[in-house]
């Protein structure tokens, strides 16, 4: 597996993981907020971590496409045929 693919997959997994963990375990418990303890998040700014997770998921596309590949950089560029 190329370094870029590995990093992109890692970013993707980290993003999904962060979003899932913050949603399920760090935010306020799922269900009816019948008490104050069930209304407040278990970890402050859990909602922000959820958003960061979603952002990381889409950032993996940038990692995959923009990150220079060592081997490819050394090799001469192969021009693609016209569209």
């Amino acid at each position: 597996m190329k370094t870029r693919t590995l990093l992109a997959v890692l970013t993707l997994i980290a993003g999904i993981g962060l979003a899932a963990v913050s949603y399920l375990f760090l935010a306020a418990p799922l269900g009816r907020p019948t008490a104050e303890s069930l209304s407040n998040p278990r970890f402050p700014f859990a909602a922000a971590l959820f958003v960061v997770g979603i952002v990381a998921v889409f950032a993996s596309a940038v990692v995959y496409e923009v990150l220079p590949d060592g081997r490819e950089q050394r090799a001469p560029a192969r021009q693609a045929p016209s569209r």
């Binding site: 913050s22 949603y23 935010a27 306020a28 799922l30 907020p33 209304s39 407040n40 998040p41 402050p44 700014f45 859990a46 909602a47 922000a48 959820f50 958003v51 979603i54 952002v55 998921v57 889409f58 950032a59 596309a61 940038v62 995959y64 496409e65 923009v66 220079p68 490819e72 001469p76 560029a77 192969r78 021009q79 693609a80 045929p81 016209s82 569209r83």
Partner: protein
């Protein structure tokens, strides 16, 4: 890299006298919006027409929230069309792909600004949202998933799809060469890079589509899940939001594409086939939304609860009747115009653009009717009917925001090709 001296494509880098005048006029309107918002920030929301529900006989959400829904709605069609073009390989629609992506990014920003305008203390609102927000709440979903996740995803899509053209522009001697090089980020148009972009854009498009349906449904749930607010509590809210979002977004995209066809001279790329497809797509969406209106009207007027009937009466024959019937009339007229063209197979660009304008006016009216009447006439407590009328401050802020969006669009068009450039970048170094 070679350096060429020829003119930049699609009007990039050129600002005519008319365009300069337009930019100055828009800047003046943005300044008016900033001034109006400064009055609101200093004096409080008393300078707006918004008041507490019930006790003050008003509406706590007014024009700002109506436009949040409108702006976010417009963003829907942009990225949907860009994603569909990629997923279904609709080559003839590629010229509108980038303008659709840009429309999404700009209208999402305007939506976020509208939320900030609605908050008396914007900073406190933002911090507390991320500090205490419950991710399962529709409010959180709307203002974080939509404004952050969806906006970021759209930006990524716009950025990656523009790298090829950025590389092409970077081969020319311009004062913005540094910007194009930064955007291109080493792109050389090799077969490997093309294949990689092909894969990325496919998966991005595939993941954006469910995200945006979720995001727009969530916005509908902000209203649709409020059991104590007659007029809002409805299973139709979420699908209605998605379909009207498609109507307004496609309509605005038609108008933008037609304006760019005229101003950039890209008549070949933005041919009638593009507008025919967009017009037919708009016709189907408008028909679906008209069906939703009929279903909603029948349900709320047939044997509704007293409080529900009071809201629907205020919309259909009371205070809000002019807005409602004008919106319905504009939607019916647009559908008729598009349907006649579809049946006769004779399409007129002017009529398609007219339909695009009309559905947007109708969408603004409908968004207003979704937000306001349930607050002024939908209380379950023993309060009389309320009243809401926006003040010059609210109108000025909205005009300022729309001007800001137009300004951002024009600036982008002047620094980057809004339509994909035909020629191929020179590869290799």
């Amino acid at each position: 890299m070679s350096v060429r001296a020829e003119r930049l494509p699609h009007g990039v880098g050129r600002l005519s006298a008319a365009a300069s005048f337009l930019v100055f006029a828009l800047l003046a309107l943005v300044a008016l919006g900033i001034y109006a918002y400064s009055r609101q920030f200093v004096e409080g929301e008393i300078v707006t027409g918004m008041r507490d529900i019930g006790t003050m006989g008003g509406a706590a959400w007014g024009l700002y929230i109506a436009f949040v829904v409108y702006f976010v709605g417009v963003s829907f069609a942009g990225i949907t069309i860009a994603a569909v073009v990629r997923l279904l390989d609709l080559e003839f629609l590629r010229p509108i792909s980038r303008m659709a992506e840009l429309l999404t990014v700009i209208t999402l920003l305007l939506g976020a600004f509208s939320v900030l305008a609605d908050l008396g203390q914007p900073l406190r609102g933002i911090i507390n949202l991320f500090r205490y927000g419950r991710p399962m709440s529709p409010f959180f979903g709307t203002f974080s998933l939509v404004m952050s996740g969806y906006l970021f995803a759209s930006l990524v899509y716009l950025y990656l799809s523009g790298r090829r053209d950025a590389a092409l522009m970077a081969q020319r001697q311009t004062s913005l060469r540094w910007f194009y090089r930064l955007w291109a980020a080493g792109y050389r148009h090799t077969a490997e890079e093309q294949a990689r972009h092909h894969r990325t854009s496919f998966w991005l498009a595939l993941s954006i589509l469910p995200l945006l349906v979720t995001a727009h449904s969530t916005l509908g749930f902000v209203f649709g899940l409020q059991t104590g607010r007659p007029g809002w509590y409805s299973a139709l809210q979420a699908p209605g939001f998605v379909v009207l979002a498609g109507v307004s977004g496609t309509g605005l995209l038609i108008v933008v594409a037609a304006l760019l066809r005229q101003t950039t001279g890209a008549r070949d790329q933005l041919g009638m086939a593009v507008f025919r497809w967009l017009g037919n797509f708009l016709m189907v969406l408008t028909a679906a939304y008209l069906y939703f209106i009929v279903v909603e009207w029948l349900t709320s007027a047939y044997a509704a609860h007293t409080s529900e009937a009071r809201v629907s009466a205020s919309i259909m024959s009371g205070t809000y009747a002019p807005v409602f019937w004008a919106s319905v009339g504009l939607l019916v007229l647009s559908f008729g115009v598009l349907f006649v063209q579809f049946v006769t197979r004779r399409h007129s660009l002017a009529l398609i653009v007219l339909a695009g304008v009309l559905v947007n006016l109708a969408a603004i009216g409908k968004r207003f009717l979704i937000v306001v009447p349930s607050q002024t006439h939908g209380t379950l407590l023993p309060y009389g009917p309320g009243y809401y009328s926006p003040t010059w401050v609210e109108y000025s802020v909205i005009v300022g925001l729309v001007s800001l969006g137009t300004l951002l669009f024009i600036l982008f068009v002047k620094v980057f090709p809004i339509i994909e450039v035909k020629e191929q970048p020179q590869g290799g170094r």
